[in-house]
């Protein structure tokens, strides 16, 4: 196991973990406002396909990213209408949104399967370009990767250090109490969904425009559900989400390393580690009754007339 291969694992983990981190941050915002969004998978697929298609047409990856972000926010507005305005069941609405995303993305992407795009350019940080090419090429990242951790810090700041974040968390704990103290749960939840959807769109954009540089049906491969698990794993906290995302993608990257060094462990079994870990963590908390979930998560706010 050489230094190079270890660095390779880290590099791969960072590449595949970025889309997870953005999406997890988005879901953290949803859930902090009291909404479980099981439709993330669909939202991501729509964003990934739309962003990819626009990049392929225009040749401008930044335009593609922008479209993906907007697509994510707008798709989530459907969920907002269903669960906030119409007070529909959150799980059922989310799963419907997932199926919607399956369909819409297949339609958008159908003529772009196998298309070549101009991906997000990869930039070497100044200083690293002094390294031998073999090393510096491992750490040539695109802009979305460099922005991922700052984004997590920004979300933390928004949620825990601003009035808006306080209001959002208050709605997530108790919409009625938040309403009584002069906040509008409807508006706040719509904002949370739009903002969270944009983040999921950003994650999806990184997946299709920067990381895989391709589009194929169902390409998100369950990342929407992984994000839901990671939100729980990171206890609804944006900064812990960084480690959650790295842990997951690290497990994926680690198996590449094991394979290259001839260790016989099935990559599939390693794939289950993050889910199993989340389950174990949940059981451990359950025993000590230290649940950190927003109190009114999943509950319908009926409105206070």
């Amino acid at each position: 196991m050489t230094l190079l291969s270890v660095l390779g694992v880290i590099s791969t983990a960072i590449f595949s973990g970025t889309s997870l981190l953005y999406t997890t941050l988005g879901e953290t915002i949803h859930q902090r406002s009291g909404i479980v969004n099981l439709g993330l998978e669909g939202v991501m697929l729509i964003s990934a396909s739309a962003g990819f298609a626009v990049t392929a047409i225009s040749g401008n990856p930044y335009l593609g990213v922008l479209v993906a972000i907007l697509a994510g926010g707008l798709t989530n507005m459907i969920l907002g209408y269903l669960v906030v305005s119409r007070r529909g069941n959150q799980l059922a609405s989310g799963l419907s949104l997932m199926f919607f995303g399956f369909g819409v993305s297949a339609l958008i992407g159908q003529s772009y399967v196998g298309a070549k795009i101009n991906p997000l350019p990869r930039i070497t940080l100044p200083g690293l370009d002094k390294l031998p090419l073999l090393y510096s090429s491992l750490f040539k990242f695109d802009i979305l990767i460099y922005l991922a951790v700052p984004m997590a810090i920004l979300i933390w700041w928004l949620l825990f250090r601003t009035r808006w974040g306080l209001g959002l968390r208050a709605v997530g704990e108790s919409a009625d109490t938040a309403f009584a103290s002069g906040r509008n749960p409807f508006v706040i939840r719509y904002q949370a969904l739009f903002f969270g959807g944009m983040l999921a769109g950003l994650g999806a954009a990184h997946l299709s425009i920067a990381y895989t540089m391709s589009w194929s049906d169902f390409m998100t491969a369950g990342r929407g559900f992984i994000a839901v698990a990671l939100v729980i794993f990171s206890k609804w906290h944006p900064l812990r989400a960084i480690f959650g995302a790295l842990l997951f993608s690290g497990a994926v990257a680690f198996q590449l390393l094991l394979q290259s060094s001839g260790v016989q462990i099935s990559p599939f079994l390693l794939d289950t580690i993050p889910y199993v870990l989340t389950l174990v963590v949940l059981i451990a908390w359950g025993g000590t009754r230290r649940q950190a979930a927003p109190a009114s998560l999943g509950r319908v706010y009926q409105g206070s007339e």
């Binding site: 799963l95 949104l97 399956f102 369909g103 819409v104 159908q110 169902f218 099935s266 289950t272 359950g286």
Partner: protein, 351 residues
């Protein structure tokens, strides 16, 4: 309040008005969804009128088409029931997908290991194994819920993600046929569910129907059904009245998982005849939605599954005749769900 005699024509026949009203609403809802999806088809360069004509002819328009609808609805009947049964004691089983995968995996193990057995021994064994696989997978959330450790919604969701990986592990790792990497060899004939009259409708459809009837009778007429309804109404009160609520959580969840496991059996032994890695894209989730739409009611489950069966069969057809991806039909499905979700009173007929 004393009843007032009404001279108003509308109020004289409230039941009829109610029926007319709800039929009108249904028709409006269906039209709305069809027009919306038609616009999508039109934008994507497909003739919507022709598409709908094709879908109708390929589903309700012929007896073979009708049988294909039944083929499409069979696994969903199982996965919907797998959600409906636990929902009676307010257990939210979102894990039908994973339980189905485990059922399929266990049944496949039987089919591959005992491939020399005669059909009358092998099929019951495979059914037993699929039930075992599904219920073991549901035992985890059931147990954790009964101990008050973890909410079953989260557990079932997590287990959903693990089960398809385990199936992929088995298929890619050591079960794949010499020709393929992502699926097993075709099952021997003795491991295939019998079909009826030259259609693809297989035995598990009958089993699903029987289970629906048993479910209805069980909840309504047995002591256990009564106790389940008591738990569903108020778990705390049921506990104080000596009903073993924790035991019910485990057993009922396992039965739900067992039923979902049979959906896996119907897929590998009936529909495909092989175990294909990633064979389902949301059949389990579909079951959750159907059970939810039907309010856990057996007749509602049947009708809703039938409608979804039509949509799925139509999707298969559009893929062939119009060359659009199968997944596009999910848009029609989603529009239908959106309309129902946006107006929950539609189905109940009272506003």
């Amino acid at each position: 309040m004393p009843q007032q005699p009404n001279s108003d024509n509308k109020k004289q026949n409230p039941l009829l008005m109610k029926i007319v009203n709800s039929v009108f609403r249904y028709v409006l809802m269906i039209l709305f969804v069809l027009v919306l999806f038609g616009v999508i088809l039109w934008i994507s360069g497909t003739d919507p009128i022709q598409s709908y004509k094709d879908i109708f002819e390929a589903t309700l328009g012929s007896s073979y088409g009708f049988s294909e609808v039944i083929v499409g609805m069979t696994p969903i009947l199982f996965t919907a029931l797998a959600v409906a049964f636990p929902s009676k004691i307010i257990l939210i089983n979102v894990g039908g997908e994973g339980q189905m995968y485990m059922g399929a995996m266990f049944a496949t193990w039987g089919a591959l290991t005992f491939d020399t057995w005669p059909i009358w021994a092998l099929l019951p064994l495979m059914f037993f194994l699929s039930i075992l696989g599904g219920s073991l997978w549901a035992l985890i959330p059931g147990y954790l819920k009964s101990r008050g450790l973890v909410n079953e919604t989260i557990t079932t969701l997590l287990l959903n993600s693990i089960a398809p990986i385990l199936v992929a592990y088995a298929v890619f790792g050591f079960w794949h046929s010499p020709m393929d990497t992502n699926k097993t060899a075709n099952f021997v004939d003795a491991a295939r569910l019998p079909t009826f009259y030259g259609t693809r409708v297989e035995l598990s459809f009958i089993i699903a129907l029987v289970l629906l009837v048993i479910f209805w009778l069980f909840i309504r007429y047995t002591k256990w059904g009564l106790e389940m309804r008591a738990i569903g109404a108020n778990p705390q009160a049921a506990k104080r009245n000596g009903i073993p609520v924790a035991k019910y959580y485990i057993v009922v969840m396992c039965i739900g998982g067992a039923i979902a496991g049979m959906a896996g059996m119907s897929q590998v032994s009936g529909y495909y005849g092989v175990l294909l890695s990633g064979f389902s894209r949301g059949l389990g989730f579909m079951g959750f939605l159907i059970s939810w739409l039907a309010g856990g009611d057996p007749i509602g489950i049947f009708i809703t599954s039938f409608i979804v069966g039509i949509i799925f069969t139509g999707g298969n057809l559009l893929q062939i005749t119009q060359g659009i991806p199968f997944a596009v039909i999910y848009i029609l499905l989603a529009f239908t769900l959106f309309v129902v979700l946006a107006r929950p009173t539609f189905l109940k007929g009272n506003e």
